[in-house]
C-alpha cells in the first residue's frame, strides 16, 4: 500500500486539477449563455434566409448565373472546404469530430482547398502536412458579421475566378442541450434540387418579379446568403464548442471528485494501518521490557 504521504500528494494534485476544471466549467457555462442568446437572435434570420432562397430558386426560371453553374463536366473539380474548429482543446470530442468529418470529405475529391478557422484545426492540418489555403484568426471566439463577410469574400473570389468549383462548410450544429452534430453543407453552387421543398401537386406557384433583374437580385442575394450562412455556422459552432467544453469539464470534475473520495478512503486506511502498526510496535516493545524486568 502506498504511504500516506504519497496519497496526500496525489490528492493535492487532483484537487488542483479539480479547481481548474471547475473554473473552466463555470467560464464555458457563462460563455454558453452568451452564445445561446446570439444563437436565438440569429436563428430566425438563418432559417428564413435558407427557406427564402429555396423558395426563390423554385420560382425563378433557370438562370444563367455564375452561382448556379454546374461544373460537373469538368474533369477535376476543386472543392473548397471551410472548416470551423475551436481555438482551444479540452472540449471533449468537439474538435475531433469536425476534423474527422472534414478528412472524410476531403478523401472524396482529388483537389481541394482548405479554409481553416480555429487554432486546433490549423495545428492538426499542419502536423499532418496538409496544405491550408487560408486561415482566419479570432473568428471562432467571437463570431461577428464582419468576420463572416471577410471569409465569404475570399472564398467567393476564388469561386468566381474558377479556382474553386464547389464550396462546402463543415461546422457543428447544436441539436439540443446534449447532442451536437457535425454537418457538411454545400454553399456553392446553388442547385434547386438541394432544397427539398415538397410542393403539393396542383398548387399554383406565385410568379415573382425581380427588380432590377433576376440576375442582379441573385448577384446580391447570393453573397448575402453566404454571409448569413457562415455567420450562422460560426454562432452554431461557438455554442456547440462551449457546450461540449462544459460537458467535458463537468464529467472531468465528477471523476475528479470520485477519485478524491476513493483516495480519501485509501488514505484513511493507510493512516489506520500506520497507527495500528505503531501501537503494535509500542506494545510489543513494552512487553519485551516487562519480560526483561521480570528476569
Amino acid at each position: 500500500m502506498a504511504s500516506t504521504k504519497e496519497i496526500k500528494d496525489r490528492m493535492r494534485s487532483i484537487q488542483d486539477t479539480l479547481k481548474i476544471t471547475n473554473a473552466m466549467y463555470m467560464i464555458s457555462s457563462s460563455k454558453l449563455k452568451r452564445a445561446k442568446k446570439a444563437l436565438a437572435a440569429t436563428e430566425p434570420y438563418f432559417f428564413k434566409l435558407q427557406s427564402e432562397v429555396g423558395r426563390i430558386l423554385r420560382h425563378v426560371p433557370d438562370l444563367k448565373n455564375i452561382y448556379f453553374e454546374n461544373r460537373d463536366e469538368k474533369e477535376h473539380i476543386t472543392r473548397g472546404f471551410i472548416v470551423i474548429t475551436g481555438d482551444k482543446g479540452m472540449a471533449g470530442a468537439y474538435n475531433h469530430n469536425v476534423l474527422k468529418c472534414a478528412e472524410e470529405k476531403m478523401k472524396e475529391v482529388d483537389n481541394y482547398k482548405l479554409y481553416v478557422l480555429g487554432e486546433l484545426g490549423r495545428h492538426y492540418f499542419e502536423k499532418h502536412g496538409i496544405h491550408i489555403e487560408e486561415q482566419f484568426h479570432y473568428a471562432v471566439q467571437k463570431p461577428t458579421l464582419n468576420r463572416a463577410r471577410k471569409i465569404m469574400e475570399s472564398v467567393i473570389q476564388e469561386y468566381i475566378d474558377g479556382n474553386l468549383d464547389e464550396i462546402y462548410i463543415v461546422f457543428t450544429k447544436m441539436e439540443n442541450a446534449v447532442t451536437e452534430e457535425v454537418q457538411c453543407e454545400k454553399l456553392l453552387p446553388l442547385h434547386k434540387s438541394d432544397y427539398h421543398i415538397k410542393v403539393p401537386a396542383g398548387t399554383i406557384l406565385e410568379n415573382f418579379k425581380f427588380q432590377p433583374s433576376p440576375e442582379e437580385v441573385m448577384d446580391r442575394l447570393v453573397p448575402d446568403y453566404l454571409v448569413g450562412f457562415i455567420y450562422g455556422a460560426l454562432v452554431e459552432s461557438f455554442s456547440s464548442e462551449q457546450n461540449a467544453r462544459m460537458l467535458a469539464m463537468q464529467s472531468a470534475s465528477d471523476s475528479a471528485k470520485s477519485m478524491l473520495a476513493d483516495l480519501d478512503i485509501q488514505y484513511n486506511r493507510a493512516r489506520q494501518a500506520a497507527i495500528t502498526q505503531e501501537i503494535t510496535e509500542v506494545s510489543a516493545g513494552a512487553k519485551a521490557q516487562k519480560r526483561k524486568k521480570r528476569r
Partner: protein
C-alpha cells in the same frame, strides 16, 4: 385605400427587428427608393445600404431604421425584409461610424486588390448610411 395595411417583418442577422401591420414601407434601392403599399405585386427587390422607413398601421408617424444590404420579398400581401443589419438611428454610435468612414476612405486611397476595394467601398457606404441617418 390609404388605410389598407399589410403584414411586414424585418429580420436582421442580429435579431428580429420588427413585425406587425404597416401601411407603407420605403426601402433604399440601388437606384433610389421604393415604396411598398398594401396589395403590392409579388416581388423580390434587392435592398441597398441606407435608410428604411415604415408607417405602422393607425399611425402617421414614420419610423426610421438604418439597414444593411439584403432583399425584400413580397408575397400575398405579406412582406419580409431580410437584411444583414438593422438599427434604430438612436442606437447608432456616431463616433464609431465616423471612424469606420475615415478608415474606409484611407483604405480606398491605397492601392489594393479588387476584393479589398469592394470590401472598403461597401464599408464606406455602410458608414455613410449610418451617418446620414443620425445627422438629423
Amino acid at each position: 385605400m390609404a388605410d389598407e395595411t399589410f403584414y411586414l417583418r424585418i429580420i436582421a442577422a442580429t435579431g428580429k427587428f420588427f413585425s406587425g401591420k404597416v401601411r407603407s414601407v420605403i426601402i433604399p434601392q440601388c437606384d433610389g427608393e421604393k415604396e411598398v403599399l398594401a396589395h403590392h405585386e409579388d416581388m423580390v427587390i434587392a435592398v441597398d445600404d441606407g435608410e428604411l422607413r415604415f408607417q405602422e398601421a393607425g399611425s402617421s408617424e414614420w419610423r426610421r431604421a438604418v439597414c444593411g444590404r439584403g432583399f425584400i420579398e413580397i408575397t400575398h400581401n405579406r412582406a419580409t425584409i431580410l437584411v444583414e443589419t438593422c438599427e434604430r438611428p438612436e442606437d447608432i454610435d456616431r463616433v464609431r461610424a465616423q471612424a469606420a468612414k475615415e478608415r474606409a476612405e484611407e483604405q480606398l486611397r491605397q492601392k489594393q486588390s479588387i476584393q479589398e476595394y469592394y470590401h472598403s467601398s461597401a464599408a464606406l457606404s455602410r458608414a455613410m448610411a449610418r451617418l446620414k441617418a443620425t445627422r438629423r
